[in-house]
Amino acid sequence: MSEKFSGPLLSRKGFLYGVAGSAALVALGGGAAFAGSAQVVRPPGCVSEESLLAACIRCDRCRGACPHDAIVIASPEDGIVSMRTPKLDFHQGYCDFCGAKQDEGSRPRCVQACPTGALAERPWADEVIGVAIIDPQECIAYTNYAGCTVCVDVCPYEAVFLDGDGLPVVDANACNGCGYCEYRCPSHSYRSFSGSAHRGIYVVKSTAEGAAS
C-alpha cells in the first residue's frame, strides 16, 4: 500500500521533529521551573503555590466563575510558569469567599468550577488568601490628607483599626486578604498622579508579607 503523506511517520525528519520537540518541551519545563514565579495572590482554595501550579491547566473557568471579577489571568510579567494561571486583582473586585466563611454548606464558585483541584476544598472558616499591608507613601491618611478611614470602616473582618494617631493599621492575624479594603481604597482616585501600581492599602501573599513591606 502506498502512503504518500504520512508526514510524521518513521522518516528521519519525523524522528528529528520528535526529538527536537521533546527536547524543547523538557527545556521549557526546566527553564520555567528555574525562572520561578512572582509572588501573586491566588484565589481561595490554593493550598500552596506549588500545588496550584501542579494542577492548574489554565482553563479559565475560575475567572469566569468569580461573581466579583476579582480573578484575573496572570500575564508573563508574573513569571512564565504562572502565565495564564488565575490570580486576584482587587482593583476590579474582591473576594467574599462566596459566603463560605459564614455558611458551612457553600464554597467559593471558583473552587466549584476548578476541574483539576488546583483550587481545592478547604476548611473555609480559617482560609487566608493573603494579608493587607499599608503603604505610607500612598495611603491618604498617612500623607497630607489625614483623616481618611475608608479601610477601617469597610473591613468585613475588623482587621484594620486606627492607632493612637488616627492612622490605619492592619491586624495581620485578623486579616484574611479578602481585598475589600484595597477595592474600596480611594488613594488612586485622589492621588493617582504618583503613578503607583498599588493603592494605599493592598493585599500581598501572606508568605511574602515581610519582604513586601
Binding site: Y17, A54, C59, G64, M83
Partner: protein, 407 residues
Amino acid sequence: MKKLIVRRITPLIGIALVIGGLLFHVSTGTLSSFGWEDIAYLCPLGALETLLATKSFIPRVVIAFVVVLVVCFALGRVFCGWVCPVPPIARFFGGRRRRVRREAEEREAGCAHQGSNGSHALGESHEAEAPAALDGIAANVASCASGGSGASGGPGADVAPAADAAPCDSAAPAATGGCGEFGAPGASSGAAAKRPRFRPDSRHGVLAAALLSSLVFGFPVFCLVCPVGLTLGLVLALWFLFTAAEVNLSLLVIPVVLVVELVVLRHWCQRLCPLGALMSLLSLPNRSVRPSVDAKKCLRMNGSHCDACVGVCAEGLDPHTSERMNDCTKCAQCQRVCPGGAISFPLLAKRSGRNERNARGPRGVQGAQAEQGAQGARSAWGTCSSRDAQGAQGAHAHAEENGENHD
C-alpha cells in the same frame, strides 16, 4: 457539502464558549475545560499532566478522562477534525504559503494544468527522504509522472510494478529507512501482509516528553505552549485589551508562540501535537464512523489510478485500508472529493477487513494490468471530473483549500 459548512463552523465553538462566557458572565470555560459548575469536560492531556504533576489521584480528573476515552471510542479523533481551532489557523497560514510555492512551481514546470502532486505539496520533507522507495506495490506511478516529479519512464512503461521506483511512495512504511528507529515492523512482504494498526511517530515522542516533563518539573509543562489554550488565551487577552484597556506581555508572547508553532514549524498537527497523539492513542479501539469504500463505485478498485481520497487526507490515510485509521479525524474530506462517490462514513462498518482485501486486489494482483490501463483510464476520468480531480490529485493538506475553493 453540508458537512463542510458545519466543519467550518464547529472550530468556532471554543471561541464562542469564551466570548459567551465573557458576555454572560458565566464560567463555561475554554476547550481546556468547559462545563457547568461541577460537571466539566477536561482536556485529556491536561488531565494526565495534572495527575502526573500532582502525583495524586484526583477523582474528578480521572472521571473526565474516562469520558474522553468513551468519546474517542465512539467517535475517534473527532476533536481534531471538527472542534480544535488550530487546524484552520494552521491551514490558513500554511495553505497560503503552499499555494504560492505551488504556483511558482507550476510556472517553472510550464504545466499549469497538471495540478500539483504529493511530493511537491509536502515539499522538502519528501524530497529529502526520498530515494528509490521499493514498495511492494507500484502505486501512484501515473500520478507521479504526470505531476512532473520525475519518475523515470512513462506510467507502467518499462518497469515491473512490483519493483517500481516511485518518488511519491517515499514514505511508504516498508521502504523508508527511518522506520527501524522506532522499531516498527516493516511489513514489507507484500499486499496481504498484516499491517500494524499503530505506529509511533514524532507526535508520540512529544507526548512522552510532555508527560515526563510534567512528572519531573511538577507542573503541566505542555499547557504553557499548547496552541489550543494559547489561541483561546489570545481571545481573552484581546477581549480585555478592548474592554478594560488591559495591556500586558500576553499580547506579544502568545502570538509569537503561536506563529512559531503553527507557521514556522509547519505540520504542527501531524508532526508535533501531543494532544493529537494522545487522541489517536485513545482512538485505537475506535471502529465506528470510519470511512468505508464501496468497491463498486471506487475508481481505483476498478482499475483506475485515482488517489483523490489519499491525496486530500490531511493525516495521509488511505480509506481503503485500516492502517493508522485511529488517526482519522472524521473530517470527511475523502468522502467529498471522491469522484465516484464511493466513500461513506457508516456508524458501523458492515464487515471489517473486507475493504482491505478488495483494495489490494487491482494493485497487487492485477497490478501490471492496471498500470497499463492506467493512462487511458486516468485521462478519461480526468476529463469528466477534471476540476475536482486536479484539485485533489496527490495534493495533501492544501488540497483541502484547493478542493473547497472549487465549491
